[in-house]
């Protein structure tokens, strides 16, 4: 279960995980819980469920944030023979992300399909059916220009200038750390400096969120 703001927090937590700063991970989770508890958009039951869900956010949850908003309007049906059919519409956002990063984002959907059916979905396939497991999964093309209200809200949050500025700086630092770490003779002192800058950037962003 995701609130629109969760995606933003997952990205921040992902940075904290890369920095191996578990204190910061907890601070970010607490901040997300605080936002949920103060939100007028959820019932008390929903708040409790969401706050419990935040407890389970870990390093693996924080990875692959973008594909979480890539599936749209899932439909689940079961016929008289017991075949379960799941139809997921590829979202406009997913289309953009796949366009930007080739098939990497689609790989998440492929993993999902393989876990359920035991067979990978070929690159061009829109459908897979495994009679032995009684499951069929279909990927529906999006309607032109279709965004759900949820996705619109997510996009508005992601587009916040302060968050975008944070991402621009953090992506640069992460890329530079990766480039130096992969070089033949890594400059450990410079890598450490950049890691410190990255941590300070995240802490500064968190402080601004709290003020």
């Amino acid at each position: 279960m995701l609130t629109p703001n969760t995606l933003k927090y997952l990205r921040l937590i992902y940075a904290a995980v890369q920095l191996e700063d578990l204190t910061l991970v907890d601070e970010l989770k607490n901040k997300l819980k605080e936002e949920i508890s103060q939100s007028p958009n959820f019932s008390e039951d929903d708040k409790l469920a969401l706050e419990n869900a935040v407890q389970f956010i870990g390093p693996e949850t924080a990875k692959f944030t973008v594909p979480r908003i890539c599936g749209n309007k899932p439909e689940v049906t079961i016929n008289s023979e017991g075949t379960l059919t799941i139809t997921v519409e590829e979202s406009e956002i997913h289309r953009m992300v796949v366009g930007m990063f080739s098939q990497e984002a689609l790989a998440q959907f492929q993993k999902f399909v393989k876990d359920l059916t035991g067979t990978g979905l070929s690159e061009d396939a829109q459908e897979i059916h495994n009679p032995e497991r009684g499951i069929q999964i279909s990927l529906r093309s999006p309607e032109p220009n279709s965004l759900t209200n949820y996705q619109e809200r997510v996009i508005q949050l992601i587009k916040e200038p302060a968050f975008q500025n944070y991402l621009a700086q953090d992506n640069y630092l992460a890329a530079e750390i990766a480039r130096l770490s992969n070089s033949d003779n890594p400059d450990q002192q410079r890598i450490q400096e950049l890691n410190t800058q990255r941590e300070n950037l995240l802490r500064q962003y968190l402080r601004n969120l709290q003020s």
Binding site: M100, L147, A168, N171, A175
Partner: protein, 127 residues
Amino acid sequence: MSNRQENEKTTTITEKEIGQFQSFYELPFFTENQTRKTVFVAMLAYAIDKNLEGFGPTNFHPIKLIRKICDLEKLQLPTCLQNAKEDDLWNDDWNREVVSFDSFVQQRLSPKWKTFIAMHRLATNSI
């Protein structure tokens, strides 16, 4: 047309435009130092968005592009580039300051490109 329909319309980037954007990153300037892909993001979108002649992937020049954007948007040139000549080679020490400039340029993009770059920044380093 409702506000929602208007918003939806402005979020669509064509596959051709995505292809144009990607083709910048296939240039040796970016393949020889992957960090530069995080420095030039919104500026590349700006060149496509504003249809800047002479600033496409076939004639990409980082310093010229930054100067052109500054001229068009009445922005101050990043301090690190103030003494740079147009035919100087790119100095990676400039990257940190130019990232901030790129983030500033993002706010000058059309709505659909602003959304695209926002998604791009979110997806970089997280998929």
